[in-house]
Symmetry: C2
Subunit: 347 residues, 2 copies
């Protein structure tokens, strides 16, 4: 069993070297390796397999990519890796992709259009198989991509432009309504909302669903106060928003934060001001990242089941890759994958 391999060191095995060792042509080796749909003598298969194992052969993706015009790489463009929820989503996607023979190329766009564009360009040059946008922003190159035939999947935030590309994530409006229902059940009369930018689908839908349901319910509710500003750093936005809130006379019964990070920022400010959460103030947020249950027991939240996102993405992705013809808006919108959320009450 002791072969003298691993002394060729640097030079990796190639189809040619495997073919030579197995005494066949490179075409045959390629066919065996790829399980091509042709008959190959059992004996030959065995010989090739052995040579492959002996030489520790792995197809070099450069050659393959050049020939086939595509790769096994799937790019994930995430808006902010510093956000634990997004990191958890990336991790989940990575898992699912690996299980399916893809490799994940993960980038951090910092939610900036120019960085996103630079990455998209790079992905084009790399000939990635597909691009998964975890919270996308509108950008010129993204516009081009929609026409370019490279499959796109939008996670957590829908395509900022209404497009035929699928969305994977929770039903944000429904989540907003659930939070409203909970508030109503608690009999709260004075509620504040902390938000970041509302131009994107996730935040906007959450807020709409929430307000809509409160309105439906009627009752003697005070008008919902809204705090926040557009911007990238939810932590600071939350901090500032809470500061403004606390500067007002009335302390609300509850503060709804449209993301975990907003809640974290608000929490720091409130704590600094001497408030105890949730004793003095109930806080509810959206996302419910994996750390909340450990160190944010003061926070109730709508949980995005991030562990499920990987598989959900894979399922829409494989559907897209298998029926590349189905480019009609109807066909693809039907591929949206809405995953179930859950309101977790803590504290």
């Amino acid at each position: 069993m002791k072969t003298s391999r691993s002394y060729g060191k640097h030079s990796h095995a190639t189809l040619a070297s495997v073919a030579k060792r197995a005494g066949v042509s490179i075409a045959t080796v390629s066919r065996v390796v790829n399980g091509a749909p042709v008959k190959i003598a059992a004996q030959t298969v065995l010989a090739v397999r052995k040579a492959v194992a002996d030489l520790d052969y792995r197809p070099q993706s450069a050659g393959r990519a050049l020939r086939k015009g595509t790769t096994q790489i799937i790019a994930v463009l995430a808006a902010n890796l510093g956000n634990p929820t997004m990191a958890a989503i990336a991790s989940s996607i990575e898992h699912a992709l690996r299980q399916n023979g893809y490799v994940m190329l993960l980038c951090d766009t910092h939610e900036q259009a120019d960085i996103q564009d630079e990455y998209l360009r790079e992905m084009e040059a790399l000939r990635v198989r597909a691009v998964i946008m975890v919270v996308a922003v509108p950008s010129p190159k993204l516009d081009e991509f929609r026409q370019a035939g490279i499959p796109l999947v939008f996670v957590n935030r829908r395509d900022p432009v209404r497009s035929p590309f699928p969305y994977v994530g929770i039903d944000n409006a429904a989540a907003g309504r659930d939070v409203a229902d909970y508030c109503l059940a608690k009999g709260w009369r004075d509620i504040a909302v902390i938000h970041a930018s509302l131009v994107y689908s996730a935040g906007r839908e959450r807020l709409q669903g929430f307000l809509e349901r409160l309105q439906q319910a009627g009752g003697d509710m005070r008008p919902v106060r809204q705090f926040g500003s557009a911007g990238l750093d939810h932590l600071r936005i939350g901090e500032q928003a809470m500061q403004e809130l606390l500067a007002q006379q009335m302390r609300p019964d509850a503060v709804i934060c449209l993301s975990d990070l907003l809640a974290y920022g608000a929490y720091k400010q409130a704590s600094g001001a001497g408030l105890a959460i949730p004793r003095d103030l109930t806080m509810i947020s959206f996302d419910d990242g994996p750390l909340n249950q450990w160190i944010a027991q003061w926070l109730s939240a709508v949980r995005i089941p991030y562990e499920l996102i990987g598989n959900a993405v894979i399922s829409v992705l494989t559907a897209m890759l298998e029926n590349p013809q189905d480019k009609t808006p109807r066909a693809q919108a039907a591929m949206d994958k809405i995953i179930p959320h859950q309101l977790i009450i803590r504290g």
Copy 2:
């Protein structure tokens, strides 16, 4: 200015198409694009540049990779993306790599040897330029890699095998001593430590430095109690360790956790048991991830300046890529990049 481009849609521009448009050979285009060290007529350069711009040409990395035998991809194998500190480090590295014209390929090894190996194999097939191991475990393929000539950098945890490859991170032993000094200054007599596996450099050195300094100081200190177990999930290890600790008679003055996540786990357990941190119990950890200052004000911690790691990695990496001959242990060990840590006191 209105060229009729972008109607060629799918078919990307290639050297050939650019060459044709500029009226030169593909060799010339390649030289211009790559800034080859040869004289080229100013006029020609201009013509090529224009054609490149008109066609929105980008070199396809498959062709380049095939020809050059390497890529601009640098792989980052991180042990756990769910750890905010590691996510922050990944983000920092990504930033620095992008600035230097590389692309980051980020993987999550879950600190498992088999997954790590699978990725290493994949990286080999992809012909990545270098591999950055953010918390590595020993594995057979890693052994092969050390000989294979692919640059390796170890971040946060040294190569589990003593090797000539550089380490980027804090001086863990010194950090441990700093924590000990702080404890001594506070006059604490009874201290507990919560740890995960101690077979790796980071945890081991932290603990050694800590104990060593306490011992040096002498005094009427109680023996340091240690809790914890080997395993991957620091959160649960911390939780369990705190449970064991609280089951004992004496409540210590302080609990030192060898990582943030251990502290989070311990915190949940302690809170659940009705303890207020830090009122009833001081906790100190190592890492100090980016969220601590927002939602873990109860936790003091040795801060790894993760924002600095990206640039530190880049600097050792470029040094390695430029002097590939310098493979002597001395030369490379000298390349270790120790970044400064800081003990942040909160609460």
